[in-house]
Symmetry: C3
Subunit: 471 residues, 3 copies
């Protein structure tokens, strides 16, 4: 076990002049408030403001970034306490046992962003002074557990300590947003807002599509027997989300194919879906059409539209069947944007009042498709490096590959996109450091001046994200 | 507004030893003559040798690299003076107003190659000592305008000052090359040569194909009623181009698919095209066949063959309809070479006397397909980083990704590929700096010696391009 | 001609602190034994232990890495002594003439991994003190020739001098492994083991498939008239290979598509193949099914399964017809893993006792598909950078692109994958240097500690490869 010693210049290039500039730039932005415009933190945390349950429940069990790596090395899901639907398998319920496995295998996170974030969380958020390992596992567990149960580490207190100006959750279209309502009605002043994500309703290939439609019917109190009614209810839900503070929508699709159907085509597909008779091709066309509809509504209601394509969800059937979704088994696939987005961009891409933020899991598209598209269409902006690419190398590659063609001002700052609330400051700190280091590299090669770099750094950290997400 | 201070070591790595070697290598090549074997400068510039109209006409209106970025940030095409076919829209005609918008938004080019080139043009070519911004916009405009109208800044004078040994334009197959003739017949000794580009005739899917055929008929004075006649006329045009100084042809295709048709297949497709009845598949096959024909003719007449695939031209229909082609709305798409080029390379790739220069907008093909192909087939060479990739990062990635498999000697030096004449020295200077820096990186890591690096630098800057393009 | 002076810090970053750490890490692993778990060295070398024939036969004629580059520059295969089946062409038989061409063109290898390996072989293995060039060609030839014929440079002596702990060859399924038997029965203690590669039998599109089946029939002494018999014989061959020391199988496929056929489907395809009536689609399905079968057998017999996909073999028909396979004309193509491997990974990927090692020639899949897959499935590990990517830049990119998502422990150390026996220490030395330098980069940016880096370095060099290949 090693002493923790988070270096003040960590993640900066070793060259002395680059490092000096990186430090200067970082110093100028490190204390800016955190804007978290897209993520998956559970709003009940802030509505209820209860202590976190225990270190295993806080750091391991809900975080697929963590248990994915442990699972890949042969550690069972059950031993990590992942709940299972299979009656014959029993998941570990002793958080200390789970924690011990995690600590023993902490070296697996060396060189990974999870390792970097965890180091920050343990050392800076929780003041742990040793790196976890087999020997100190239980000592650290106890230390964490004690802190978790103190007033200082309640969710709302951490929210303020983290200097979060606004945090967006991600919520299904039929969500009544009860926790958001509670937060709003409370005396607490933290700004936690929802984001409208209708994936469960726009993807006809999902087995739960009709269940989701039923939830939508219930929450809206309206019958949905036609495509027009469906669209009308979605429009109302967007309005409701907006009234609850939402400034954006989000669309997770396998392919970013966009295509406008004629109204009878859309209606026919919808009717087949109601009868559970829609085909694969129906589903493909329906999603393509719904992206067009969502853009049209965004033009009307002003919600910023996010598109997150390219993940093959639940690639491992056994894991999905036994443990459900979001269990570390989503795998990216090659994604095509130039042809797939043509219809959407031709119809809405020239609109200056619309903002479409595009993400990718396929880095080969940065220089080939995404930067050229964002460097042309006024409505289109590029989201930050996402998921597997939200990392030291991933963020560095992003800036190197995107900036020359799209510039800085067709990007929108950082997203933490996390369900791990206490990792938020760690993730934003890392992003700020990587951007500072990238800008220092431009200064030291005399491409821009230090003064310009500092202006850009503030824009990347704060101004661009507020503008793109209308926060 | 900041003072310009173009650093003598700009773009070199900050490490002191790398920087020292980079400087030494760069010093050894910086004054070599410029060979510009592929580009889009208008030959009338040198035929007429008139002063440039004004700074907006020189730097902004004809350069889609520039207005693309401004358009992406919501600035209208009209306000930048881009001519439009739509009668209700009026384009700005006051060059000072256009210039002001440009200057106010000059910060958008920070970190982009356009920014780097413009800095060079303003500071080094025109001696401007401040970076453009809102405050100094008109002062700089006036300064530039005065210079533009002095004898020192006439096109031919700049050509000589830039130390250009030869400049190739790009010309459609039916072009009578009148300006080239005027240049040849003038007393001026500058070498400006044409390049044969028959895209308008080899792509049956273009709406102007029959118009282009008619132009070909007129310029050749021959009837073209069969595929054989078509081929024969193209052969004659190549001969004419060669007599006017051309040493190369150029082929812009969406896909580099190559396939030889049987003569009756080609004839049938051609006849359908004459009747405007050709299909998409006809067009695909025809282009594939024409690449084979062009290679065969190159083997005969010795013209170096360039292939520029992978751009989805005029992706934004609204922009195309209102403002025409080349308006910043061409977007790259994934490109396949290994299978698509098989027929061409099997038939002609083993010919030592033939040179085929291949370009890409899809960097994922550098290590996967292009370097392995060029590292095997004697006829095949790799063109330099093209368009979006003609940049600090793009050129650096190219050398890092291509060199190990293709070596230096299966590449062909630099192309500026520009229509912005005054950017030519800026672009060549940047390329020389990036190559010097790359080679310095090899020296400092003890992969090659400084002496070897200097030989390679000269080959990359001067010898390889002259050899590949037979200049 | 330049003096050789292989720098002790070669290939390390120039930054002083990075270089110091790199050196420290490298020093800690440089003398570890070589584990060569996958390659193409001819086992007869060690069975017979005869001197190498001459420098041309040792360095040039059998090594497609070398003559590929020379051929790309217009040097004929005949002049390099490559044997040809064409009676009218005569291949050069004077090794000195071949050597002279090679030496004159040695500069072509500047900046390539071949150049780096050759420098090591000449300078360190053979003690040559000048870099080859036209002037010193014959002097160096004589020096090499003399050494080759001394006892010190016999294959077994070099094997020991290179500190090779184990070397795996690659052998077709029908190979009787006679040389392996001889080595085992000799008094020599070197560990040379076979690897089971049934490509000739699993790819129905090969012209020699029936010949290979006949060889299998002969070596097994069994009739093979049904798919079940075919499978049974393969199982027995695996058993035989295992008894001869094999710990792995290897599968070279164009596409890594996997799919389990029903038993009658497999039987029908097999019967069509016996009658030479199988289709392209039959071949595609058969290979997909055989990958499933091989995984199943690996789960039974414990042999580690390697998959090497993505090479378009014999892309140049003329070269293949005149000179045969493995002549530098294999070209990578884009490769899809996420969808293609789904069936295999769903059925076998969760098995902890199975190891499947996946390689790629398509670097765009590192971050997009391979690292996410290996970062989840327990059975899956990523092989090292392969073929064109086994290079300074290629290995560096691999670590940068793979580590953050897959970690270090889902990789399996280095493969030299070479048929050039004397290049083995050069290749392993390079890999160790690049890994040391990469780890130093993590240390200097305070991502991991030097102590952690040293542990990882030893794991990458020695422990992980032994574990993955069960050596």
């Amino acid at each position: 076990m090693e002493k923790y010693n988070l270096h003040p210049d960590r993640f900066f290039d070793p060259d002395a002049s680059t490092r000096k500039y990186a430090r200067d730039i970082y110093e100028s932005i490190k204390d800016l408030p955190i804007i978290s415009p897209h993520g998956h933190v559970d709003p009940s945390l802030f509505a209820e403001n209860k202590p976190f349950l225990n270190p295993a429940e806080l750091f391991i069990i809900p975080d697929h970034y963590i248990f994915r790596m442990l699972y890949s090395q042969g550690i069972t899901m059950e031993s990590m306490g992942i709940p299972t639907t299979v009656k014959t398998n029993k998941s570990e319920t002793d958080p200390k046992k789970i924690w011990k496995i995690f600590a023993e295998n902490y070296y697996l996170f060396n060189g990974t962003p999870s390792g970097v974030w965890l180091d920050y969380e343990f050392n800076i958020v929780f003041g742990i002074k040793e790196k976890p390992c087999a020997e100190n596992a239980l000592k650290i567990y106890d230390e964490l557990n004690e802190k978790i149960n103190s007033a200082e580490f309640l969710p709302r207190t951490l929210f303020e300590k983290f200097n979060i100006e606004v945090l967006s959750t991600t919520d299904s279209a039929a969500d009544p947003l009860e926790y958001h309502r509670k937060i709003k009605q409370s005396s607490w002043k933290g700004r936690v807002i929802p984001c409208f994500r209708p994936d469960g309703l726009t993807d006809l290939s999902r087995k739960d599509w009709k269940d989701n439609l039923e939830l939508l019917r219930k929450v809206s109190g309206r019958e949905i027997n036609s495509f027009d009614e469906f669209i009308e209810v979605l429009r109302e839900r967007r309005k409701f989300f907006k009234s609850m503070g939402a400034t954006s929508t989000d669309h997770g699709v396998f392919s970013p194919y966009t295509h406008e159907l004629k109204s009878d085509e859309a209606e026919n597909i919808f009717q087949r879906a109601l009868k559970r008779k829609s085909t694969k091709e129906d589903a493909r066309l329906f999603t393509a059409h719904m992206l067009m509809e969502m853009a049209r509504m965004s033009l009307d209601d002003g919600l910023t539209m996010q598109i997150h394509p390219g993940a093959f969800r639940n690639h491992n059937d056994i894991i999905f069947e036994k443990y459900g979704a979001d269990k570390g088994a989503d795998i990216p696939a090659a994604t095509e944007y130039t042809c797939n987005l043509k219809e959407l961009l031709n119809k809405y891409g020239n609109e200056k009042s619309l903002t479409i933020i595009l993400f990718t899991l396929d880095e080969s598209t940065y220089t080939r498709e995404l930067a050229p598209l964002a460097g042309h269409y006024p409505a289109l902006k590029l989201g930050p490096p996402w998921w597997f690419h939200d990392s030291i190398e991933g963020m560095t590659r992003y800036r190197h590959m995107v900036t020359e063609t799209a510039g800085f001002y067709n990007t929108v700052g950082f997203n933490d996109d996390t369900r791990a609330f206490v990792s938020i400051p760690a993730r934003h700190d890392l992003a700020r450091r990587i951007d500072s280091n990238f800008l220092a590299g431009l200064v030291v090669r005399h491409i821009i001046s230090l003064q310009e770099a500092m202006i850009i750094a503030k824009d990347l950290t704060y101004n661009l994200v507020k503008k793109a997400y209308k926060l």
